[in-house]
Structure formats: C-alpha cells, structure tokens
Symmetry: C2
Subunit: 352 residues, 2 copies
C-alpha cells in the first residue's frame, strides 16, 4: 500500500493475504516475517522496547543503559566456506548488540541437538563459538542443552542471546533517522548468502566465495567514540540490504534513495547471483552494516570506518529525504528509478 | 566413583563411558547432561561465570549486579494440563533468574517454527507467554523467529533468555552452602513430569494431574527482603529434586542428607509414578525449589514462604553436613540410608 500520494499507482486494492499455516518465508526476514511480528507477536507482547523494531531492546536498570538481543540459528549446512553455525551464532548476536550502539559483553548459548548427532560436530561448533567469542571480546557465560528425537531436528540448532552496555548518549535506531542523513555501507554485499547456497547445493563457482561472517562492533564503537552522530545502524542479514533499509524507511516514515552504481558486489558474487537468479540486494550478509549519519559527519565516519579491516571498503550508497515517506527507491545504472520492497517470498531459506 | 573413604564400596573400577553420538539423555538434566557440559562446553567456553555451575550467570556492569540465564523448550506435547510450552518458557527462565537471587525484569523470546504449523498454535503459545510474563512481572522485549523445513522440527521450539537485577548482597549459589544449613522444599514434587507424561501417552489417571508450572520469584525475593541468609536456591526441573541436590553436593563438596518421609508427593502422583515405574525424586517440576538456609534462619524462612500460595506447602526435607563430602543420602521410611545419584539415563525425555 502506498504511504504517499506522490506514488498513487502503488495502492493495492486487495488486503495482503495472511497465511493460516507457517511458511518458510515467515522466517526469511522479509514481508512474511514482518507480518508474523505485526499480527502475532507485537499484539501479544506489546511494550515500548519491542515496538521500537530494532535489532535489540534498549533497557535501563538503575541508571545503566543496556542492549539485549537474541537470535536462533538454523543455517543449513552447518559448515560453509568462511564460517559455520557457531561463528554465525556469536557474530550475529554480537552485531545485533553493536547495531544498538552497545559494547557487546556477554552471550548465552542454548543448543537443541538431534539424537544421534556425532559428538565431534558439537565439539567443533563449540570450538568455533569459543574462538569467535574471543575475537569479538565477549564471554559465553550461561547455557542450556536440549535433545530432540531423531528426525525432529536437523543436527543442531543454536540460540544466543546477548547483553551489551551502551556507553554513549546517542539513541541509535530507526526513529533517529533524519532527512539529510547519508547512508554508508560497510563493504561489498551478498557473500554470506551465496557461500551458504553454494555449500548447500554443492555448486562450484570459478572462485571460492567465502562468507563475510565477522564481528562489526569495533568499527561501530569507534564511530561513536569519535563523536560521529550515528542516527541508525543495521546489519544486513536475512533479507539483505533491501529488507533492512525498507524496514528503516517504514519505521522512520522517511524516503531512502539508493544508488545502484554505488553498491559494491564482487564479480564472483554477481556472477553466482546471475546464474541462480538472485538479486544481491536481498542476499544475506553477516559482517556488513549500514550507518545513517548526518551529511556533515560523513567524512569523519569514512575516516573511522576505513581504519578497520571489516569496514575498510565503506562506500556512500544513498541518502535520506522527507518524501515519498516510508519508501526506498533505487536509481539504476541507466538512470531509471524503481521502488525497492521487502522480500515477499523466501529467496534463500535457512541462511542463518 | 566414591568421593569419600567412608563409602569405599562405591568405587567404580571402570571409567564412565563417554558417548560418541548425542543421546536423548544428554538433554535429560542428569549425568549425561553433566558430562556433556564438562567434556565439551566448559573446556571450550571456560570462564568464571560459567564455572559457577548455577542456574544462571552472575554479572556486574558499572556497579550493577545482574543475573542472566537461558533455556530452550522442546516439551512434547506442546499443550498439557496446567500449562503449555509458552508458560513453561516464561516461568522456566523467570525461575532460573530467581534462583540467582535476582528480580526477573526482561525476557527475550526466539521461536523455531516448523513449516506447515498452524498459525493458531503460534498465536496460542504467544498468548500464553504474554499472560505468564504479566503474572511474573517481566516484559518480553526482544525476539526472533526462524522457520525450518517440514520434518526438521516438531511444531515449535522456543528459547527464552532473561535478565534480572540482583538487589541484595547475598551471593546465592552452591558455593555458599555450609554445613549446618537446612534444606527447605517449597511444596509437593513430581506433578509437572507426570502431567506431561500423561498428556503425551494419553493416559488417564483417577484424578487429573496438572503441572505445577508457576513463577517462584515472589517468595524467593521475599526471603531475601526479610533478611533470611539464603545460601543456595535451585528449582527442581529436569532430573528433579535428586539431580538438583546431587549437583549442589558435588559443587559444594558437602553432604546433603534427605529424609524420604518428609518429601511431599501427592497420592495421585505417587500412584502414577508407581504404575509407570518412575521415582518421584527424579521427576521434573516447574514451580518447586529448594532453599538452603542456616538452621537459625529456618523458622523465619518458613514464615515467609508460607505466606505465598506457590510455596505455602513448604517443608524441611534435609540438612547439610561435612561428610561424606559431595554425596547425597536419603533415609527411607524404614530407616535404611541409600546414596542418591543423578539420573544416569533418560527417565522422561522432552519434559521441558
């Protein structure tokens, strides 16, 4: 449904179909995921922290500001070039805390194991988590293990929840985005999704595409420490760049204009996407984020992000304006502008 | 293996078998669960908070003391007399925080849904969680949903993690237990396990056994507020009363003596256990806990616990002494004493 009379042709005359049964796309990070949250979870759990629709909740206890976030990981296969379900489970939650402007401190770790899984697999995943936690500067402090019957799981699922400390006054979130902000993207997109897809399907591309899975808390905290006015941060996981910025546009009620020419996609990733029919702006990443900062702070933000390996490829990919509010548009190489929507189906199931 | 020369006959000449593949009992809360933690997770994740072997981690950020805990829930069936997977997921984590002496404040909530699950089921579980959270005084502030392929789940799994604030100086945990402490049990045992078992197997007992699933933070915080020197608290979930006190005996290196006569078990629960061959001291509860307090504080603790409905049936079930260290013994009705061990196999799989 159009949110602005500038684009009246986008009004949809039919209500969006709501599903009576769970579909894969309800876990895809796109429109069906959003519907599930809006139809089922937000009404049931209504509270201010949840309604902020950010990567994590912002809390305050006794004057201390904290961020709190959780994700379950069901990636298939469990091991892929550049990482595994363990590195993903640590970096995913570390990055969600960083997106709240928090310094990640501790993680919980809860396994659901399938009866009959080789214990070596559990050990390998635990070792990966330990190594990723060390690299990200967080401690795994509490946990749980459940076992489900053979055939009622898929080897191993893992959940992490994390707590971080917010050391700055900045309220980082979609509601802080302002017209005039520029959109910085921390590096090339599409690698994680294509690496998992290739591993799952046994595809061989000319070059070996590795996941970009990495912790991004260090560059994000460096931005805040440098005094850059960071309005919003979002990591580009399920649903990719497109779903992330569409959600921010909808929540902030502003217009985000992206430049296709500016989006960095590696040649091998672009080729793999073309072969498989994927659009890189919808493909999941695990070490990439967008930062919304005022135009006046863009240069300083660039300088900070370039000094960190994980964000040295930072580019400016767009800007924020008032109208048409709630929409994301993408200007293509040949100058045409199209509206970018959330992923409506499921492009890449079980990517994280 | 005997831990004390007073019981030399208990020395086991063979090493305990360690399994190469995951078995149901690795999630049962008994000996195999303990082995998994000791062999795989503790070495990988080594840190002080995890090594405390408590229901949650005790943290300190900027002078603020917090408790942090997580559990995944895979109970089968999802709905049973007295509760469902949603009430369990809220009360289980709320109670783990309470066992750290913390006031539960916020929960995260992460679903793993199986493709094809009726959306009504998701809504019912979300409604149960919302209601349970209200009753326990916590807010569900952040969440996640993943979907796995049909046949790769079992309807719905849910993880909650929780954060609570520790408002008292007392360090509540197994290491604070002292010889001379008495063991208080908050009410009758065995109801949750038998309610789930009956629902799963379609058994009909003479009376309808309902789960005891309930939040126990209120009586626990009242104990601390009243100045009772609470040394240790533990809720009696997977593995039941026996596994909980055995773990405390092992961690504290002290001897816990239980009196069988003092253990409250409802007649219908006792009957169901006899028919099915279960021992009530190993059956899971979800609204019961033990409190270790000095003998001199026992009367005051009783008075406090009796004023809360969830713990009005409190009884004294045992006491702590120095030796034989690390062991739990149970004196039977006819005066015989036996050593109580952890559950070594899996008595009741997927009970929570």
């Amino acid at each position: 449904m159009s949110r602005d009379p500038l684009l009246p042709g986008l009004v949809c005359p039919l209500p969006i179909h709501r599903h009576s049964h769970v579909q894969m796309a309800h876990g895809g990070g796109g429109r069906l995921s959003q519907q599930l949250v809006e139809d089922v979870f937000l009404p049931a759990f209504a509270n201010a922290a949840l309604s902020a629709r950010h990567d994590g909740a912002r809390l305050e206890f006794g004057g201390l500001r904290l961020a709190f976030s959780t994700d379950s990981y069901v990636v298939k296969p469990m091991f892929f070039p550049g990482g595994d379900i363990g590195t993903l489970a640590v970096n995913g939650t570390v990055n969600d805390l960083a997106m709240c402007g928090a310094r990640p401190r501790v993680l919980s770790c809860a396994f659901i194991l399938e009866e009959g899984l080789a214990m070596d697999v559990v050990s390998r995943v635990a070792a990966s988590m330990s190594e990723a936690a060390r690299a990200a500067g967080v401690a795994l402090v509490t946990g749980d293990t459940k076992v489900v019957d053979r055939g009622k799981g898929d080897g191993l699922y893992v959940n992490t929840a994390g707590v971080g400390v917010i050391e700055h006054e900045a309220v980082v979130g979609p509601m802080s985005v302002r017209a005039g902000d520029v959109v910085l993207l921390s590096g090339d997109i599409g690698r994680h999704g294509m690496a998992v897809m290739a591993a799952r399907e046994g595809l061989e591309f000319e070059s070996n595409i590795e996941s970009d899975c990495a912790p991004v808390a260090a560059p994000v905290l460096a931005l805040l420490d440098a005094g850059v006015k960071v309005h919003c941060l979002r990591d580009l996981t399920r649903g990719g760049l497109a779903s992330a910025v569409v959600e921010i546009a909808q929540t902030s009620g502003l217009h985000i204009r992206l430049e296709e020419d500016a989006l960095p996609v590696r040649e091998d990733v672009r080729g793999a996407c073309e072969i498989l029919g994927f659009d890189p702006i919808y493909v999941a990443n695990e070490g990439r984020f967008v930062a919304f900062v005022p135009e006046s702070d863009a240069r300083r933000a660039f300088d900070v992000l370039r000094t960190h390996a994980v964000s040295e490829g930072v580019v400016r990919v767009g800007a924020v304006s008032e109208r048409p509010g709630g929409l994301v548009t993408l200007r293509s190489r040949i100058g045409a502008t199209r509206v970018v929507d959330m992923l409506s189906g499921e492009q890449l199931p079980r990517i994280c």
